[in-house]
């Protein structure tokens, strides 16, 4: 297991290095002169020269890249050009919204999908199963940001149970913020729960066809005991992969949903940065998102290997 983990760690590091090079290249090399690009057409030459110095653009490309990576490793992401504050501060504050939202949605999605998928599998071929499959088919087709707007229309405007958007901030207490994140998390979670429920259903159905399930039934376990004790545990392996994948979907989806609810998260930050051409912020946030995706993939690989010893040997 240790050898497997180390191998994965090496490939994680390589992925991160290559990804960072790609991001660096797109943001800092393609525009030609990032300083001129950020300042726009009417900038004075002196201003551009000053920004070039600030950004260290007079140095060699490779030195700049190393400087950027080195800075990231020590928590120095550079200074935002529009906000005039360290990017790390901005990002950290926004993560306080985006990360809880993603986790909240992931928990909701899992909590909905597990029982639904399990029931559909246990009652395979019944009307209930058909109903669940139809509902999930619809759930997959619904864009989460549109679903979010419908939630606002119904729960905020018609029923007035939730505010239509905004975020009080964590210093105002835990539950008010959880309440503020509830509609966004539901909007994010439901389409993902539809996918997860389908995966759960087919995984359980597949394990239910295995010999050891028949053995379990033959030795006198009830259908319910068989599902819970034997089928569920083995079905979890493919489900785990999908949950890992969903993390990146939810993180990216969260960026969009934040727009619907005017949440001050990474999404708002990055879209403002794009319109204001604040390339340093864009670069850092994109790197952070990609880092999160690669890290989660790594963790899923490890969990996968822990659950299924055969995978460790194969790698």
């Amino acid at each position: 297991m240790l050898r497997f983990a180390l191998q994965r760690l090496v490939s994680l590091t390589i992925s991160l290095i290559v990804a960072s090079m790609v991001i660096f290249f797109v943001i800092e090399v393609i525009p030609g002169d990032p300083a001129a690009y950020m300042l726009g057409m009417n900038a004075q030459p002196e201003t551009i020269a000053a920004l070039r110095r600030d950004l260290g653009l007079d140095q060699a490309l490779f030195t700049r890249y190393l400087g950027w990576i080195g800075g990231m490793l020590t928590g120095d992401f550079g200074t935002s050009y529009t906000y005039r504050v360290p990017v790390s501060e901005l990002v950290l504050a926004r993560m306080g919204v985006s990360l809880p939202l993603t986790v909240y949605a992931l928990v909701l999605s899992t909590l909905i999908a597990f029982p639904v998928g399990l029931i559909a599998a246990a009652r395979r071929g019944s009307g209930l199963d058909a109903g669940i499959m139809g509902a999930t088919q619809l759930g997959i087709a619904v864009p989460n940001f549109w679903f979010a707007m419908l939630l606002v229309l119904f729960f905020s405007i018609t029923l007035q149970w939730f505010s239509a958007g905004g975020f009080p901030g964590w210093d105002r207490g835990f539950w008010v913020n959880i309440k503020a994140l509830t509609l966004p998390a539901v909007a994010l979670a439901l389409p993902q729960a539809s996918i997860l429920a389908r995966v759960m259903r087919s995984a359980v159905i597949e394990t239910l066809g295995q010999d050891y399930i028949r053995t379990a039934r033959a030795k006198g376990l009830s259908a319910r005991q068989t599902v819970v004790r034997h089928a569920l545990r083995n079905a979890l392996i493919p489900v785990l992969t999908i949950i890992g994948l969903q993390f990146s979907f939810l993180l990216a989806g969260g960026i969009i949903i934040e727009n619907v609810f005017f949440l001050p998260g990474l999404g708002r930050l990055i879209f403002q940065a794009i319109t204001q051409r604040d390339l340093i912020v864009v670069e850092s946030v994109v790197m952070l998102l990609v880092f999160a995706v690669i890290l989660v993939t790594f963790l899923v690989d490890l969990a996968y290997a822990a659950a299924d010893p055969r995978l460790r040997r194969r790698a």
């Binding site: 690009y37 940001f145 549109w146 405007i157 087919s202 597949e206 619907v260 879209f271």
Partner: protein, 273 residues
């Protein structure tokens, strides 16, 4: 001839409606989508405007029709791009299975997978500015590793078969075998995957346009219609509800069609779904 699955018929019908709307919009729409008519603004659905009007008095049915054109065009070109780039890579990897080229291609695939379509779009837009073309490129890049992986997976199982071995013994090169024998046999797989990526492309295009990274005004797009509707949702909910239904029905149609196609084209894959 076997009876066609219901999912295929229903899916094709749904998709057909929107494809037809997109086609008709090229020659005719009930109203002009560029003309503003402030006197007729924010009308609820009625006899004159079946789907109502927006805040500029534009006819929403007409905009949905033109928006269908944008969505379908973006998604189709992005699928094409993913196939053109991904399929040869997948064939190449399978032909050199276990070798260095295979390893490089698959690691490259994993790397692109680490960039969600939205993140690719953000990168491209930050440097080149937002446009429908950039949305196509972003979704196309996202599609590439998907097709490479499906192609490689399908091709790998074929390479072990006797008739491929025979072709090798007969002196055919890897490229010729890939094109003449492998490709035709994984075409079904690619059609099914293409349908799935098509529906994902429609969703992605809508999301990108919604956040302003896709189609720009005056080009009508479903995602942008939703973005514009958002601030008016409390007094003109039809503006938000109708474009959303257009997206849902199109995506649903394509997904059903994909399921149906899989059932007839690829019986091996028909599992307990």
């Amino acid at each position: 001839m076997k009876r066609l699955p219901m999912t295929l018929i229903a899916g094709a019908a749904l998709t057909g409606v929107f494809a037809l709307a997109a086609l008709i919009s090229m020659v005719w729409t009930p109203y002009s989508v560029e003309g503003m008519n402030i006197a007729a603004r924010l009308q609820a659905p009625g006899a004159a405007h079946w789907f109502g009007t927006d805040h500029f008095g534009r006819d929403i049915l007409s905009m949905i029709m033109v928006g269908a054109r944008t969505s379908i065009a973006v998604a189709v070109i992005a699928v094409g791009m993913g196939m053109v780039l991904g399929v040869p890579l997948g064939l190449l990897a399978a032909a050199n299975r276990g070798g260095l080229i295979d390893e490089v291609i698959m690691r490259g695939n994993d790397l692109v997978f680490a960039f969600p379509a939205l993140v690719i779009a953000i990168l491209i837009t930050a440097v080149f500015g937002p446009s429908a073309v950039n949305a196509i490129i972003a979704i196309g890049i996202f599609n590439t590793p998907v097709f490479a992986r499906v192609t490689r997976g399908g091709a790998l199982s074929l390479w072990t078969l006797d008739y491929i071995r025979a072709a090798e013994v007969a002196g055919k090169g890897k490229v010729r075998i890939s094109v003449e024998h492998i490709l035709p046999n994984i075409a079904n797989l690619l059609i099914v995957q293409g349908t799935i990526q098509f529906s994902l492309g429609i969703l992605a295009e809508a999301a990108l346009s919604y956040v302003g990274l896709g189609a720009q005004p005056p080009l009508p797009s479903w995602g942008r219609m939703l973005a514009e509707a958002q601030t008016m949702i409390s007094f003109a909910p039809h503006m938000a509800i109708i474009p959303g239904f257009a997206i849902v029905l199109t995506v649903l149609g394509l997904n059903l069609m994909g399921d149906g196609l899989r059932d007839i084209l690829d019986p091996k894959l028909r599992r307990a779904r």
